[in-house]
Symmetry: C2
Subunit: 167 residues, 2 copies
DNA sequence: GCCGGAGCGTTACAATATAACATCCGCTCT
DNA sequence: AGAGCGGATGTTATATTGTAACGCTCCGGC
């Protein structure tokens, strides 16, 4: 059921990120979409780790590298990455996270640790189908399923104290 | 499975809203919480219909009635109503919708029509359990399940044109 | 050459949300 | 009665997130 794990102790993130970038390049190539330096860099920044990044957080990083970057620059890059499924928006955080499987990402569900920020995407088909079934009963046509589960990962397993997220 | 329907043609909304207000009053009384005039009025405004309302939309309505209402007033009322489960926040819209069953609302799922804005809450236990099952596999402790299904209701059944929401 | 579209820069602003401090009012304790 | 306290609200200012609108440049096709 869970097709991805929360990144664990032995996670080789350099390889993980390199894979993501390679997939992005291939997918853009196949579609004739331009993964320009800015777009590519924003994607890299998002893949810094498995936490969602806010637009202005990315903006600051880009500004540190290039000076004078205005919000639309970031938002345009994010739009591009969203449209091509290379990232997802986490609605409950107003933030963006890399998609590990950009070619098939319409049914993703997110588990977001409020302790460390780590976010895992799974693709539980049965869950998506159950949602579609409920929609059918309501006569409702689904265009987007937003499933964001907030809580604590194993390592942050302290759900009672409302700590500030360790961002 | 679907425990609520999308409000249909024969929906008696006056009664629906009156019920909601009565439930809110009883629940606050039982908990010793104060449903003050502002809080009550905000709840009424949210129950104007079954669409989510933004904080500033509510603010304008309240200002029309009372003049000079500042944002914190609204946000404080919304916080109160959220804490007591009388309303829900729709994360993907930054907006708020009334909860039809405030005493048992931890497992709600929302179907949001992008045409007319109508939002229906259902409480599919099996869906919630499936999410919890996936969480268990990940070693993840769930504190909140956000399920927001965007699409079109039966009456707005035109999913291909991206119309502006008829708010 | 020139046109058109994509990408980006720039300015200004809109929309959403909160921090911090002041005031008021009802309650309790003495 | 007066002091002190907590909850609710008022007030001011500001933080955070997101967009509109316009113009420039570059590049590829005709």
């Amino acid at each position: 059921m869970a097709e991805r794990k929360l990144p664990g102790r032995n996670h080789d993130h350099a390889a993980c990120m390199a894979d993501a970038l390679r997939r992005a390049e291939r997918l853009c190539y196949e579609r004739g979409a331009q993964l320009t330096p800015i777009r590519r860099r924003v994607l890299e920044l998002i893949w810094t780790d498995h936490r969602p990044y806010g637009a202005y957080e990315l903006l600051e990083k880009l500004q540190a590298e290039r000076g004078r970057v205005a919000p639309p620059t970031i938002y345009r890059a994010l739009d591009f990455l969203l449209v091509h499924g290379l990232i997802h928006r986490i609605e409950s955080l107003n933030a963006f996270v890399g998609c590990p499987r950009p070619s098939d990402c319409s049914a993703g569900q997110f588990f977001i640790c409020d302790g460390c920020g780590v976010t895992a995407e799974i693709a539980d088909k049965a869950l998506a189908q159950r949602i579609d079934g409920a929609a059918l009963e309501l006569g409702f046509t689904v265009s987007q399923r937003i499933v964001e589960i907030r809580g604590h990962c194993r390592r942050c397993h302290l759900p009672e104290q409302d700590e500030a997220p360790v961002l």
